[in-house]
């Protein structure tokens, strides 16, 4: 299926076609216009220019800061551009070969095949990722992204790239970081242009135009954004959530733990059943959206099924809003890993970008959170649910 779509896309666009520029983030600009009550057109256009000066183009990427341990330029070059191979067999254009049908050139998640999927492919430009080992508000580590590429995200359209050469996977990890960083800088620069530099219908004052060199007020603003986003990625290793030791139980001990976990799941403190339904059967009604969707709907005061109000956003590329459902955990597939460590992190951090909240870890039962032992009981219960129907 994936290859069929890819071939179709290549047939229309030509996978060897050169592409001069990334598309600007129009959906985000429209949302800003709504909340800030100002025209974002000039800000968007100037941000596009500045971001291109900093990060290059789909065929010719660059990396604006000397922190090249985050993303290696050689790897970016291999991942970008049209699909081809060198004489020595090195593949070029990896992102267009493997990812573009779903995630689109910009990493916007608006690829040709995106409309058919639930959940939609990730928009990397928010800089928010779900399945990772770090704290909720932090970036994933390189290792997290590599795991996603190797394992895919079971239960979603995101395929496994286990068969792709490990060096190519490594290059793609860099390219995900590149697209995410580039896209988040673009978003924050557009917002800062309006919020801080007085961009609107008219140009800002002299010296306040966005500038990719660290000069003038406009240049300062761009560099503050740049440094913040890069620092968020650079420091993420320090925010890995440590996982306490877990013991594999069997027989009676396991059954007792699962029974306790069931109590916790339905109990007042964790209240997992409040979203996932009794025994995680996914039976509760819900009317909620993920943060990517909320940005152009409920957060700016638009009702997600108001087609008329959403028209300009849809025309700018936004996907039709889809509700996010608390997962059916009975016989369910874990998207982010069903191992004890992954589930421990899911429960103690929640899932970034989604309604799933975090449970506090406490040292003594106090009604506010769960102890590590209670969390392990809960993990065993959730694992048990996934094998039952």
């Amino acid at each position: 299926m994936r290859n069929a779509v890819l071939i179709a896309v290549c047939f229309i666009l030509g996978c060897d076609a050169r592409i001069e520029t990334f598309l600007p983030n129009r959906v985000f600009s429209l949302s800003l216009e709504k909340t800030r009550g100002a025209s974002a057109e000039r800000a968007t256009e100037d941000a596009r220019r500045v971001v291109q000066e900093l990060y290059g183009t789909p065929d010719d990427p660059s990396w604006p800061l000397p922190d090249n341990n985050l993303a290696d330029l050689q790897n970016l070059v291999r991942s970008s551009g049209p699909v081809s191979s060198e004489k020595d067999g090195t593949h070029l254009g990896l992102f267009r070969e493997h990812c573009v049908v779903c995630h689109a050139l910009e990493g916007s998640g608006l690829g040709a095949a995106s409309v058919f999927q639930n959940p939609y492919p990730r928009d990397f430009r928010h800089g928010v990722f779900k399945w990772k080992s770090t704290e909720r508000g932090k970036k994933p580590t390189r290792h997290d992204i590599r795991q996603i590429l190797v394992n895919g995200i079971p239960g979603t359209a995101m395929p496994s790239f286990a068969l792709v050469d490990p060096e190519d996977v490594d290059a793609l990890v860099d390219y995900v970081i590149f697209l995410s960083t580039r896209g988040e800088v673009e978003r924050r620069v557009i917002a800062a242009a309006i919020d801080e530099l007085d961009y609107g219908e008219t140009s800002p004052e002299d010296g306040w135009e966005l500038d990719s060199r660290n000069e003038g007020e406009g240049g300062e603003v761009v560099h503050e954004v740049l440094e913040r986003v890069h620092a968020d990625w650079a420091e993420t290793q320090d925010h890995e959530v440590p996982v306490p030791s877990f013991s594999d139980l069997t027989g009676k001990a396991l059954a007792a733990s699962i029974a306790r976990g069931k109590e916790v799941f339905h109990g007042k403190v964790a209240n997992c059943a409040g979203c996932h339904g009794p025994s995680g059967d996914g039976s509760l009604p819900t009317l909620d959206y993920d943060d990517w969707t909320k940005e152009y709907t409920t957060r700016i005061g638009l009702t997600p099924d108001d087609d008329e109000a959403l028209k300009p956003f849809r025309e700018a590329g936004a996907l039709k809003p889809r509700r996010i459902m608390p997962r059916k955990l009975q016989g369910g597939v874990f998207h982010g890993g069903g191992d004890a460590a992954s589930l421990f992190r899911r429960i103690t951090q929640g899932i970034a970008g989604t309604p799933m909240p975090a449970v506090e870890v406490v040292s003594e039962p106090n009604g506010k959170g769960l102890t590590v032992e209670e969390i392990w009981d809960l993990v065993r219960y959730v694992q048990h649910l996934s094998t039952s129907r």
């Binding site: 909720r136 306040w208 007020e217 403190v269 975090a358």
Partner: protein
Amino acid sequence: MLFPAVALLLIVSMPARAETGDLKIHFEYAGDAPDPSAIDVNKDVQFCGKSKLMNERLLVNPKNKGVKNVVVYVYTGRGGSKLDPVPPAKKTLTLANDLCRFEPHIVIAQTGDTLKVTNPDAVGHNANLGFFNNKQQNFTIPAGQEKSVALEESEPAPIPVDCNIHPWMKSYVVVLDHPFAAVSDENGDLTIKGLPAGEELVFRVYHEAGGIKEVEINGKSEEWSRSRFEVDIKPGMNDLGTVVIPADALSAD
């Protein structure tokens, strides 16, 4: 230059630098007061269904057309006012999950304050804080419990707080690096106290139901470009009068 006569008087009396002024504004809606729609309570119905929950996006007082929940604050971003640093007050502000709605609907905080999210309800809630600069978090608050959040950084705009267990529950937190902000009450009145006097200050106005850009102040049309306006603050009370918001600027759903 709102009250030239007053201004002249003040120049004569030369206000001391430490003097402060208050800014008072009355917000009125030009259209008919909309009937807030009832919320379809489909979760924890036994408990949350007990009180009549309303969509609180646009609350207009049917008696006097006063608009509730208009936020006005001194804007200190680039191009805004330069204020002398105000030491943090280190207040603790409460945001309660009260009968399956947030109370208050809008919390105004200064950096250094603590936000205490309480849950006096008999059902579990969560608070999803979509901060831009502070640590983003989304935690559960079991029935009868509370959790505290340190507000360390200012935020560029009011930050939405949702409960995802009951997605109709919405509130906002405004975090500024100064205390000069207020939210209008059920009569549409607000007062910002203790502003530095003798200066023209830039204010920003915010309402969750839309952008306030064109207004009528005491019968005269004014444009509040980018939802900002300036007032020359005099010592004592500065009454801006009645600000009428056009009907189509705000929408109830």
